[in-house]
């Protein structure tokens, strides 16, 4: 299946800003169906962001992150064309990975 992670990485004044959007229900385990049955917790536990294979961001996340998680962060040392890889793993062992390259901004 094609990855459902969107990533945009832009370089400006020596700082690379990564914006990423993941597709996931992030069910809390606290909501009930109309039948009264609890919807079990189903959420991303870990998000990894790597720059040319080196970890630049590692998120431990819980049910408090909104559905379809959004994350933006910045780091130094990236160059235009470098690889940015984002991957996540959820509490049921599900996973998704996507890659992009850093594009030069206006700076």
């Amino acid at each position: 299946m094609a990855s459902q992670i969107k990533i945009k990485a832009t370089l400006e004044n020596g700082v690379t800003t990564v914006k990423t959007l993941m597709l996931h229900p992030m069910d809390t385990g606290l909501f009930k169906k109309k039948t009264g049955e609890l919807i079990p917790a189903y959420f991303i536990q870990e998000i990894k962001c790597e720059h040319n294979g080196a970890m630049v961001m590692l998120v431990d996340s819980g049910i408090g992150i909104s559905k379809n998680p959004y994350l933006a962060f910045s780091f130094k040392g990236g160059k235009a064309g470098d690889t940015i890889r984002v991957s996540w793993i959820d509490n049921k062992g599900g996973t998704d990975t996507a890659e992009t390259t850093i594009s030069a901004g206006n700076g």
Binding site: D60, G64, S66, L71, S74
Partner: protein, 151 residues
């Protein structure tokens, strides 16, 4: 000679790489008990071994709406002028589970994150920045119209 030099260089580079990655690797296990904690101090104790927060409002900027119409999606931005920030942790004091997420930073990652979080009721969002053994924090009160955490 040349081959040996290259091997030594490679060794040095590899150990350098390992040293840089070490702080992030140390956090690799998902902190299950901290995510189950109901209250902020309990979650902090489980994550960091203590819950002594030092308020640094001037050095940490936490941006969130004053009124969140929809508690299921509350945009939050944290940035800081502090150096050597190892992680940024977000908590909400009145959520069923206080801990939202911990963002572990590499040495070249800037102390800045932006994300969307869930809030059950009007409460404080707390940002905790780890620098060495110190926990620096700031908080922001947010009103919530519709709960984002269940019924």
């Amino acid at each position: 000679m040349d081959g040996k030099r290259r091997l030594i260089l490679k060794g040095i580079l590899m150990s350098l790489g390992a040293a840089l990655l070490a702080p992030l690797r140390a956090f690799a296990a998902w902190p299950a008990t901290a995510f189950e904690a109901k209250k902020v101090p309990e979650a902090l104790n489980l994550l960091f071994g203590h819950s002594k927060l030092t308020t640094r409002d001037a050095d940490i900027t936490l941006t969130a709406p004053e009124l969140a119409e929809n508690g299921a999606v509350v945009p939050v931005t944290v940035s800081s002028t502090l150096d050597n920030v190892e992680s940024i942790t977000l908590l909400v004091d009145k959520n069923p589970n206080a801990l939202i997420a911990r963002f572990n930073l590499a040495p070249n990652t800037l102390p800045y994150i932006k994300t969307n979080i869930k809030m059950a009721e009007p409460s404080n969002i707390i940002a905790v920045l780890k620098v060495g053994d110190n926990l620096y924090s700031t908080s922001r009160r947010v009103k919530v119209s519709i709960s984002g955490c269940g019924n």
